[in-house]
Symmetry: C2
Subunit: 493 residues, 2 copies
């Protein structure tokens, strides 16, 4: 980054943080030059860059002014999925998303891949290399079915931060959170059973339900407070629901952290209807607020919550180290784990255990949390800048994805095909619905460093959305008002 | 090993190979001393050791004679499982076997663990260490769902040795052969379906069937020629069987290599009844004969064979690198793979690919094949020595397990409990039956170096078997004759 780019970045941050208000005059070139000890021409170049980004506007003879800001787009309203159990489709769209990984030139805005470039992850490479040197025969041996004991202990310790008091004996290591969810679902359900899910919900979970012949009932979900307990209660009364799958902390794809009282109420509801809760906490450690939000598992007294998580989002997904704390379903989960993969890879388990034991995990987490939070600011600023009005955008409380809702007839699938020529890939909303809803939505990742390529991609994306929206029916005025007018107070968590 | 132990080992081998026949006089101490350039006392110590092992007998003033040999125990006769589909039990016994891994003091004669001490495996450690040093970001990234391309190519090349012409695109990498079998079964069966299995059959496959609510019909199986095609045909006529699971090469637990014509006939039968064949080839590369036996997959023209394998037995199980070549079921297998674990660990895949590419795999295989074959000789010699008469023992054509059949009322489960005090663990036969048959059988592994500890264990085991057999009803004379009298010609493979 050159001197003028650094200065431009600093000024952009100040504008973002409201230090310079929309319409306000910016300091003169001379003043800034003195303040920052840079040349006149450096300041001029910085101002020129900000002007290009439409953050500031020059007024002849008066200097530069902060460009009047577009209103922040509202958050998406409560979702309205189909109110009956359905069989899941959308496998083709999932395959499209997965196959995009094969194309190195593709800018993968739809991917669930975390950033793995952080310097705080370097010690993990050293550990892997040392494991090879030490020639510990455990690396080559069958792991026991439960997982490497040392890793299970480290996980039990980490879980204290989420309010959980569990012992290493209650933890079963899995091949990523994917296997944790899969064995949990299989441990408590038979084909034909019904599971309630948030709507939208993680496509991996949906496909697992599909693969086991389990029907999903999609529950309306609020982009700030999470699954609608009122709708869930109605569903419980109407259908024999075995379990609820939720991502209450840094939800995928909506980014909310479910308020504490709502978590409590959800658990009470599950108790009342004797259902299990499968709690996916894979993004929980990446909540921007510190200390991190508690899990529903932490309040679980009768072992009905199966907590699933992994190091795929916090460290690196290629390690495939996940875990499940299955409560009262321990034996059945263990059996399902056995028939799914036998034991788990020993080497990556030992590497992660050493990484935590040597004290590298918490500094890495701290770095990633603030990194993602900064990226989110830049990303949403750019989305606001490049996208047309009339959209809704989530305000994630952690993790690294945002969910964008466009007016109803918009077709994200067609958009994705259009974008292929520009080597941009998004996650289309319908992936996140059992019944193919949310074709008007998209999930975007801000995990990777924001580069000029990203900015160009958002520009292309925004223009494509704008073109498509012109063809769409006008946004219903009611919807707009609803979204913008809503007072969204975050409850205490 | 001291000088006299080496000499004793050499003489024991000569006796085993028939160079000195039972009853024949061995060379004088003086002659041997001259021949081998060792002292008189070394020869005397060697002879003393062989006497202790009851391989030779001293006769006063005449020297040492080869002890008249016990007849080699016969191979087990054709098995006679229940002739209807049953639901699988035995999970507790499987857990017992798996939990034995947790006990370092236990001599694990029941384990499916290969030997990982070979010097030819050393380059793999270096590769792992180098992967850590190189910091290739692919190690930390989500692998694509199919597996690392380079590894898939290497596997396609290796498969030529088993007669298969497949491309890398037809291979899906899995978390060990365990996941390969699991996703294959799930791709072609629904709960309630019926799958035909060899009897005895690998307990992992059985538990997978159980977990998915699939019934198993156990087909009588011959310890030399494999699954009875006649019995299988009858079963096909009587029941709607979706698939057959077989381990035709170096069968687990019986060690046979199914003759070529029988493999062809099995495929024809599957075609006639339109059933799939799940072929588990995990021990196939460890056949003692070279070139290795072909797979049924190599003759498969209409894609009905799903070939499952892994590097768990040839390299190291802790790597969890397996694969499936699913033929016409590719898409369904891929979906099942996705919901089972998402993607596979990248690092161990890349390590194995490099190990093969650098030319380390074939030398390692060659070494392990002859190592296991030598171990088998020692092991069966010792079993013959320490076990009572009236047992049947398989003659494995590869791999590293033998199957011992004891007279009917014998209870291997009780034996296993008894042995726990002596820190010896065996695999009880009932693990290998859906209906709990084969309680009178046990599977023993000869994968690990034969040490004094192993010899003591076989002594303890033999004595326990002898004690138990005294309590048993006398072995039926018919059974004995049947076993011993059978002429077992190996068909051409």
């Amino acid at each position: 980054m050159t001197r003028y780019q650094r200065l431009a970045e600093l000024l952009a941050q100040r504008i973002e943080q409201g230090l310079y208000q929309p319409g306000e005059r910016l300091p003169s070139v001379r003043l800034l030059s003195g303040e920052h000890g840079v040349s006149i021409s450096t300041v001029q170049q910085a101002y020129h860059l900000l002007e290009e980004k439409q953050l500031i506007t020059p007024q002849p003879r008066s200097g530069y002014f902060v460009t009047p800001r577009k209103a922040a787009p509202p958050v998406p309203p409560l979702t309205r999925p189909v109110q009956r159990p359905v069989e899941i489709t959308q496998w083709d769209a999932v395959m499209d998303l997965l196959n995009a990984r094969l194309d190195d030139d593709m800018l993968q805005l739809g991917s669930g891949m975390p950033n793995i470039d952080a310097v705080t992850l370097k010690p993990l490479w050293k550990i892997i290399s040392r494991l090879g040197q030490q020639q510990d025969p455990r690396l080559f041996s069958y792991d026991n079915l439960y997982g490497v004991p040392e890793l299970r202990e480290q996980i039990a310790r980490l879980m204290i931060d989420s309010g959980c008091q569990v012992t290493a004996d209650e933890v079963v290591i899995t091949t990523g959170c994917h296997e944790a969810l899969s064995v949990s679902i299989r441990a408590i359900c038979q084909p034909g059973d019904i599971i309630a899910v948030e709507s939208p919900a993680f496509h991996g979970t949906m496909q697992t339900l599909r693969g086991f012949g389990i029907r999903a009932i999609e529950i309306p979900t609020d982009s700030v407070t999470g699954i609608s307990l009122e709708a869930l209660e109605l569903a419980f009364e109407q259908w024999p629901i075995n379990a609820v799958v939720v991502v209450p902390n840094c939800n995928n794809p909506m980014g909310f952290v479910m308020p504490l009282q709502r978590k409590q109420a959800l658990l009470a509801l599950a108790q009342r209807f004797d259902a299990a809760i499968i709690e996916d906490d894979v993004y929980g450690e990446l909540a921007f607020d510190y200390p991190r939000p508690v899990t529903i598992k932490s309040m679980d007294l009768d072992g009905r919550v199966l907590l699933c998580s992994s190091f795929s989002k916090t460290l690196a997904p290629g390690l495939r180290v996940g875990w499940v704390v299955p409560g009262r379903y321990f034996d059945r989960v263990l059996h399902m784990k056995y028939i799914s993969t036998g034991s788990t890879v020993t080497q990556t388990q030992m590497a992660v255990a050493a990484f935590i034991r040597q004290g590298h995990y918490q500094p890495h987490l701290r770095r990633m949390r603030s990194y993602y939070q900064r990226n989110l600011e830049t990303f949403t600023r750019q989305v606001r800048h490049h996208f047309p009005c009339g959209i809704c955008v989530t305000r994630p409380q952690g993790g690294f994805v945002i969910w964008v809702e466009l007016p109803e007839p918009f077709d994200a699938l067609r958009l994705n095909q259009e974008l292929r020529a520009s080597h941009i890939q998004i996650a289309v909303g319908s992936l996140f619905s059992a019944s193919g809803k949310y074709r008007n939505c998209l999930r975007l990742s801000y995990a990777q460093s924001f580069t000029e390529k990203t900015e160009r991609a958002l520009e292309v994306l925004g223009a494509a959305v704008e073109r498509a929206m012109i063809c769409c029916a006008p946004v219903s005025a009611v919807h707009q008002e609803e979204g913008e007018g809503r007072v969204r107070e975050r409850e205490e968590n």
